[in-house]
Amino acid sequence: MTINKTQNGSELTIALEGRLDTTTAPQLDEEIKSSLDGVDKLVFDMTKLEYISSAGLRVLLSAQKIMNKQGSMVVKNVSDEINEIFEVTGFIDILTVE
């Protein structure tokens, strides 16, 4: 998985490419936790994300919990397949999917 971060003032965009699974999720979790100081808007761009499993959902949940305390979080450009996973797991109500 490739993680591309773009910081614009207090807004951080994380673009994900590839597979967010059990083996790659810890890498994203670390990236997020080390980047959120002073961030009040976190955007995930999922244009190139091909795959997500429960390990990836857990990372998104933990990011959402942090951002609930310090600002907002948005998930953008989600494929139909990943959106269906968000629906089945109730993540569609937890996340703000644009």
């Binding site: 059990t22 083996t23 997500i52 499993s53 857990r58 089945v88 109730g90 937890i94």
Partner: protein
């Protein structure tokens, strides 16, 4: 039918997914179904790798069978670890807010929701879990 016997460890996840994907691709499985099947295989294999042999280690055997009429894929996971029936695991409450959500419990739930059938048996000291997806 194709079969893969492999050490049940998370570092082998990629090989397990590649094994399953090769069969699915050879049979022109639609990409959406392939993703759902990959997720199911990941969740089950990671469960076996994480819990079946704790604190030791052991193997898992994964077999995949693509069947015609009605068209479906059957994937069977066998391990010799502690007896564990994932179908008895209580479903997480998917209506809770982020703050109330527990980390975990989602994996098997996703498998239950996305597969057409799941069958568990414990026999001769082996957990045998079969998932079936209609194609």
């Amino acid at each position: 039918m194709k079969e893969l016997k492999i050490k049940a460890s998370i570092e082998n996840l990629e090989r397990v997914i590649a094994f399953v994907d090769e069969e699915l691709e050879n049979n022109d499985c639609p990409i959406k179904l392939q993703m759902q099947i990959d997720v199911a295989v990941e969740e089950i294999f990671v469960n076996i790798a994480s819990y079946a042999y704790q604190p030791g280690e052991g193997d898992a055997t994964i077999s995949i069978d693509i069947i015609k009429d009605p068209s479906r894929v059957e994937i069977t996971f066998i391990d010799s670890g502690i007896a564990y029936n994932p179908l008895e695991k209580e479903d997480p409450d998917v209506t809770l807010s982020a703050e109330e959500r527990q980390i975990g419990g989602l994996g098997i739930f996703m498998v239950k929701k996305s597969m057409d059938d799941m069958i568990y048996n414990y026999s001769n000291g082996q957990n045998i879990l079969k998932i079936i997806k209609n194609l």
